[in-house]
């Protein structure tokens, strides 16, 4: 007993518990210093854009692009949204915004529905030639879009869809298919096969298993697909300008036309505001679902 307490008290004199950490050691200074620099580098353009968009034209002409506005004005934003001119139309970005919404929403929903069923069928209901089918589908994602621009123009013309929003929706849905199918297929392949077998023994069919077993387990990958598609389709310029006509231009094309229209003075503040407005939707989607996004990417990447 005495011995034990002796050694116990001896031990208490030395270091005990968690090892203290110094916050300001050379390693941390280097690490956070560099991180801070990189952050600044990336945030700077955004800063310039926001500041410029809040200035009046006289203040913009002074040339201090980094300085915050002396007199804050939201007029450039209003103008960019509602009255900026592109050619004959003078209703700003608002028209393009609604066009983009009408294009993006059905394209995203359609492509995700079809691709998820594709991926599910390719993994769990293998049919004769399913591997070949998948290979061909994936091959599609390696072909540059530009090659297919003109053939698709002809196809859409023959189908009577050229120059309509639905034509563009169709194009987006098809072009989203390879990567989305791959994404869903890999995710579903990480769901244990025995679960699928158990459901079959339990009498669930193709759709029963899809809706009641697979879907509830696949929220993360649906979020990933949603983000990929919303940002991809929203930011698309090429298809928008090729397959629609001026009345139906999506927001990105509208933005380009506003920024590049050369009549009178270049209104940098309006251009900045217009650009920020256009980038708003993907930005909001990222911030809202950022957490799920990372989790979903990781979840899909584990296998396949």
């Amino acid at each position: 007993m005495a011995d034990a307490s002796m050694s116990g008290s001896l031990a208490m004199t030395g270091p005990r518990g968690a090892k203290p950490k110094r916050a300001l050691n050379p390693r941390n200074i280097m690490l956070y210093g560099i991180l801070l620099l990189v952050c600044l580098y990336y945030i700077l353009p955004l800063w310039v854009m926001i500041m410029t968009s809040l200035k009046g034209m006289p203040e913009v002409r002074l040339g201090n692009i980094f300085a915050p506005p002396v007199e804050i004005t939201f007029e450039p934003w209003v103008k960019a949204w509602a009255t900026a001119c592109t050619g004959l139309n003078c209703d700003g970005l608002s028209r393009g915004f609604w066009n983009s919404v009408i294009i993006t929403v059905p394209s995203v929903i359609l492509s995700i529905i079809i691709a998820s069923v594709n991926g599910y069928a390719l993994i769990n209901w293998k049919f004769k030639g399913s591997e070949v089918f998948f290979t061909i589908l994936i091959f599609g994602s390696f072909i540059p879009y530009q090659i297919m621009l003109y053939p698709i123009v002809i196809l859409l013309r023959e189908a009577g869809l050229y120059g309509t929003l639905w034509g563009l929706v169709l194009v987006h849905t098809i072009f989203g298919m390879p990567i989305l199918t791959l994404l869903f297929r890999n995710y579903f392949s990480s769901i244990p096969e025995e679960l699928f077998k158990a459901a079959r023994v339990d009498g669930a069919g193709f759709w029963g298993i899809y809706f009641r077993i697979m879907l509830p387990m696949s929220l993360p990958i649906f979020v990933v697909a949603l983000i990929l598609q919303v940002t991809g389709i929203w930011n698309d310029f090429l298809f928008g300008v090729v397959y629609t006509k001026p009345d139906l231009y999506p927001m990105t094309v509208q933005l380009n036309n506003i920024v590049n229209s050369v009549q009178g003075v270049k209104e940098y503040n309006v251009n900045m505001a217009a650009t920020l407005l256009t980038g708003m939707v993907p930005l909001v989607v990222y911030f809202v679902s950022g957490k799920l996004f990372v989790r979903g990417i990781a979840a899909g990447a584990v296998k396949g």
Binding site: K197, A204, P216
Partner: protein, 359 residues
């Protein structure tokens, strides 16, 4: 008592690979049959074919007198328990148990009744409203068994149900499955690579290799009279000792090295004279003594002594051949001891080296 499951000339090919070859298997009603074999022998594949989860290439499958060869899994009157439990993670235990019944449009009062019964048999009543993630491995496997139970079917298929559990739980659930079988009297087909499970649970064991059933017989028969070298080596731990040699004197004795082993009392067919034969003796059918015993024996030298607690394994060298003997703990001997090994010929097996079949 008719046949519960009949497999007739079942063949399954994956592309050019033949997985199951012209297989025939009859399972009596209420019988517990274990499919046993090493990895890749086709035992799980056969079970999946029975369940209807794999399309077969040729042959027929009959369950309860009905040809189910082309039936959907849910129409075959089977319940299946998987190695990884395969519980639906987003549903509660109750949801898991009722999923199949709801698909079959069983009325709700009946569902409640069957769940209550299954929960009572498996003692999972307190768990019914939990999600699978909140259950331990043993509890999950109980629920998985429950999911087969509520289907109220005649045939249970088990696909290595205990392989994911630790040793203690495994032996507990093994006893429980045996009890369940006694209580319900269902036909059960059970796939495992664990011979202890096979020997303890089975009414009959089908030992498989390369997509072919090597021997189908009761556990004792398989253990005592293995039909070929593969079965003899696969069943039993440590494995049977094989003494290669040739039979002489019209099959009255085997010459092993420079030793003559008298085969009087061998329980099998006529031995005849063969240039090459193998005598198989299990480690527990060999006795160790300091001087040559009365019966057939060979001299050997102790190499290693392994203490297993209940008994002990002696590894010896007889000429160039390694031999293992199971002895009581008090029979342990230091390395280098020279001894005589008495062979119990009545319990030994003799194999033809070329055909690998038991003589």
């Amino acid at each position: 008592m008719g046949n519960s499951i009949e497999v007739k000339d079942l063949t399954l090919n994956f592309g050019s690979v033949s997985v199951l070859k012209n297989m025939n298997l009859d399972v009596q009603e209420g019988e517990f049959v274990v499919l046993l074999g090493p990895s890749g022998c086709g035992k799980s594949t056969l079970l999946n074919c029975l369940a209807g989860l794999l399309d077969i290439t040729d042959g027929q499958i009959w369950i309860k007198g009905k040809n189910v060869t082309w039936s959907e899994p849910s129409e075959r009157g089977i319940g299946m328990v998987f190695q990884s439990y395969a519980l639906y993670p987003q549903m509660t235990v109750r949801g898991n148990l009722s999923f199949g019944l709801k698909n079959a449009k069983v009325p709700q009062p009946e569902i409640d009744k069957r769940i209550a019964r299954a929960a009572e048999i498996l003692q999972i009543q307190p768990l019914l409203d939990r999600k699978p993630a909140a259950l331990s491995g043993g509890q999950r496997q109980r629920v998985a068994i429950g999911r087969a139970l509520v289907r109220d079917v005649d045939v249970f298929l088990f696909d290595e149900p205990l392989s994911n559990l630790d040793a203690k739980l495994r032996s507990e659930l093994r006893v429980e499955i045996k009890r369940l079988h006694n209580q319900l009297g269902n036909t059960m087909v059970y796939v495992t690579h664990d011979q202890i499970e096979a020997l303890t649970l089975a009414d009959r064991i089908a030992v498989m290799k390369g997509g072919v059933i090597q021997q189908l017989a009761g556990p004792q028969e398989i253990y005592n009279r293995p039909s070929n070298l593969f079965v003899a080596g696969f069943i039993g731990s440590p494995s049977m000792n094989f003494l290669p040699g040739k039979t002489v004197d019209g099959g009255k004795a085997l010459v092993f090295g420079d030793q003559r082993i008298d085969l009087a009392g061998y329980d099998g067919g006529t031995v005849l004279e063969r240039d090459q034969a193998i005598l198989g003796v299990r480690p527990e059918h060999i006795t160790v003594s300091a001087s040559a015993p009365a019966g057939p024996s060979i001299p050997a030298v102790v190499e290693i002594d392994e203490n297993l607690g209940a008994d002990s394994l002696l590894w010896l060298k007889a000429g160039a051949k390694d031999i293992c003997v199971r002895v009581p703990v008090e029979g342990r001997l230091p390395a280098g001891t020279k001894v005589h090994l008495g062979l119990d010929i009545a319990k030994a097996s003799l194999f033809d080296t070329k055909t690998e079949q038991r003589i």
